[in-house]
């Protein structure tokens, strides 16, 4: 019997993340007719403890003898695991939020990144702001989200499209420290500025509430990356105004047979489909391809990697394929806006598919980081 392993993270504001990741994978495999595959899980906490991550991966490989390991971790933790997977001749599939930009884009045949592309979406959202005529913007983020290099991609994206970042506001981490009041001053000094906003989870809700309270009726132009459009959290967020848009990675509103099946399957399993279950649901297709290739190429990793690079599949968010230079999956991204529900909460409206995603990714992955580094090791949203 085939066994695969998954490293599961936990999060205080996405409390179901571990269940979502597991169920997405399990249901994805079942949907593809492979319920026979055994899934072994290991807990890696917030994905920041090197010892815990390494030992968990080691256990899956050396004790459970899994064929493939899947892990919701960042690039830095993947780098830590790289020698283990090279030494053990195994493939690691990283489920990547895409919130960070790696200082060195990976080129290891043993590691493939399946991404939600938050940084790429952030950069495209910034570009959208310039397309809408904004030449000035402020970057608004929090202590936590500000630690990831999507901050770099959103600012750089805006500047490269001809805009100027006029101000930055990074607010606190705890409820009592969270404030957007400084934006009042900033916007007085720099009126007509777009707010390039990077928040996730509860912080989106706090941010929207703050905007609603401090800027009532002003319909400030707010631009969001994919995690700003996470629907579970949006459904509980106060609707703050009519001018909120950006780039979404996925929505339950996307109309396709694949998306319908995914959402219904997750519902039948007692879960609400979200970005995390989506990522692991999709990873089932990648895992099955890897298992097939392991057999076909008698475990020769260079050959498996080469074939996987040209693998593509239809997913709930559209066609997914790999960039062979970075072993990173490329998926469609969507132009989206936030609209109000009858209860005054938020929901996504998908406008159209974003253009030239791969070209933008290539640009992003060859972009100099100018010595910007992130100190966050943990898996994104896992605090």
């Amino acid at each position: 019997m085939q066994t695969i392993g998954i490293l599961l993270a936990r999060s205080t504001y996405y409390q179901t993340i571990g269940f979502d990741l597991y169920e997405g994978l399990r249901s994805g495999l079942k949907h593809l007719g492979r319920s026979d595959i055994r899934i072994v899980t290991e807990n890696i906490g917030f994905g920041a403890d090197k010892q815990q991550c390494y030992r968990s991966a080691e256990k899956l490989i050396l004790e459970e003898n899994v064929s493939v390991v899947i892990a919701y971790i960042g690039h830095r933790m993947a780098q830590l695991l790289r020698p283990l997977f090279l030494a053990a001749n195994k493939i690691l599939i990283v489920l990547d939020a895409g919130a960070n930009l790696p200082n060195e884009w990976p080129s290891c045949p043993n590691i493939f990144y399946h991404s939600l592309h938050n940084s790429l979406g952030a950069s495209l959202a910034a570009k959208k702001a310039t397309d809408d005529g904004y030449t000035s913007a402020g970057m608004v983020t929090g202590y936590y989200d500000g630690g990831y290099l999507h901050t770099y991609s959103i600012s750089k994206g805006f500047e490269e499209a001809g805009g100027t970042i006029s101000f930055n506001h990074a607010t606190g981490y705890k409820t009592e420290d969270f404030t957007i009041v400084p934006l009042v001053d900033h916007l007085e000094k720099f009126p007509n500025s777009a707010l390039l906003s990077l928040f996730s989870g509860d912080f989106v809700q706090w941010y929207f509430e703050g905007i609603k309270n401090s800027f009532k009726g002003q319909n400030l132009p707010i631009y969001l990356p994919p995690f700003g459009f996470e629907e579970m959290m949006l459904s509980d967020a106060e609707y703050p105004g009519d001018n909120i848009k950006g780039i979404a990675a996925w929505s339950k509103k996307l109309e396709s047979e694949e998306n319908k099946i995914f959402i219904e399957t997750m519902k039948a399993a007692g879960r609400i489909a979200n970005l995390f279950s989506l990522l692991s649901w999709e990873s089932a297709s990648i895992v099955l391809k890897v298992i097939e290739l392991i057999d076909e190429h008698k475990n020769s990793i260079p050959q498996i990697a080469s074939d996987l690079q040209s693998f593509s599949f239809e997913s709930p968010r559209g066609m997914i394929y790999f960039d062979s230079k970075t072993n990173t999956s490329i998926s469609p991204l969507y132009n989206a806006t936030i609209i109000a529900t009858n209860e005054g909460k938020c929901e996504i409206q998908i406008e159209s598919m974003a253009n030239d995603v791969f070209e933008h990714f290539k640009k992003l992955s060859t972009q100099e980081l100018n010595n910007s580094t992130s100190a966050w090791h943990n898996s994104y949203t896992c605090i």
Partner: protein
């Protein structure tokens, strides 16, 4: 969480500046307890000794083979958990290796077991590989023969010279050695495999016959690869041009057919264009002659003066 007090202590034996990025990163991550340098030139040895003193890291120079006899007692004093070798020029004798089983790890700048020997960077370029590797392996008393922990692949870009690839590998070496250090820190066991002897190849240090362009047998693209593989360490690939011993430093492929005998000059343009056996040409841009390093244009002028 691990405690800093339990951080593994690593001694690094190196051969010079190729190891510097790795030394810096390992020191930054507080893994290094001592540095040994073999056959280092005075400037580099002095610089390293000063840096080591400033960072409170042990230091010892091994200027020649004889000095290796002092290594074991030094290791016994320093008591490292592991010893990393990055292009250390001397073979470690059994007396040193007996300090501990699986405690010595070499980082070979080429894939093993395919590219054993002291200059794999030259060999992979000459052989027109598209990928090389940094191989981490446990050491035994033979060069490059211990159990392999991993080969970490590195892409060779078209046009990479020995110098370019060396710099790339030196930078990559930093991350690979840090990865290895982390592995030693966190792993309960280090997976390793004996080298597959049937795939092994040992390359002696290149001699004139290895750096010499064989116009009768080598295709234009093979010649370009050899030229790149010789730049800069050999000041170019050796050849005889119009009866003169020269070294070609920079050249590119010219997809133009010719009726000349291979190894003879077809034309002088901005480059010196030489006929190759596969009816293509190589366009030489820079070459080294007895009178100095010349551009193709300078060389052409010199030859026309001589011809007049």
């Amino acid at each position: 969480m691990y405690l800093m007090g339990t951080q593994k202590k690593i001694m690094v034996l190196c051969g010079g500046k190729f190891a510097f990025p790795a030394l810096q990163l390992l020191a930054y991550e507080k893994f290094i307890c001592a540095i040994g340098i073999g056959k280092g030139n005075d400037t580099i040895t002095d610089a390293l000794e000063r840096e080591s003193e400033d960072s409170n890291i042990g230091f010892k120079s091994f200027p020649n083979k004889k000095s290796i006899s002092e290594m074991r007692s030094w290791i016994d004093i320093v008591q490292p958990d592991y010893v990393f070798c990055i292009s250390f020029p001397f073979l470690l004798p059994e007396a040193v290796l007996s300090y501990g089983q699986d405690k010595f790890i070499n980082f070979h700048p080429g894939p093993l077991p395919q590219y054993r020997g002291s200059m794999p960077i030259f060999e992979v370029l000459k052989n027109q590989e598209t990928e090389t590797a940094i191989c981490a392996h446990f050491m035994n008393s033979k060069f490059d023969e211990g159990n392999i922990i991993f080969n970490d692949p590195v892409t060779i870009e078209k046009g990479d010279t020995y110098g370019k690839l060396t710099v790339k590998l030196s930078e990559r070496m930093a991350q690979v050695t840090l990865n290895m250090a982390n592995m030693l820190q966190f792993a309960s066991q280090i997976p390793s495999q004996p080298q597959e002897e049937s795939l092994s190849c040992y390359y002696e240090k290149p001699e004139l016959s290895d750096t010499y362009i064989n116009w009768k047998r080598m295709t234009a693209s093979e010649i370009i690869s050899l030229i790149n593989a010789c730049n800069p360490w050999n000041n170019g690939a050796d050849t005889t041009l119009q009866g003169e011993q020269v070294k070609i430093i920079v050249a590119s492929l010219l997809e133009e057919s010719h009726n000349n005998q291979s190894g003879t000059i077809v034309s002088f343009t901005d480059t010196v264009n030489i006929a190759c056996v596969d009816s293509k040409q190589i366009a030489v841009e820079i070459l080294s002659t007895d009178i100095g390093i010349l551009t193709a244009k300078q060389f052409a002028e010199l030859k026309s003066i001589l011809a007049n």
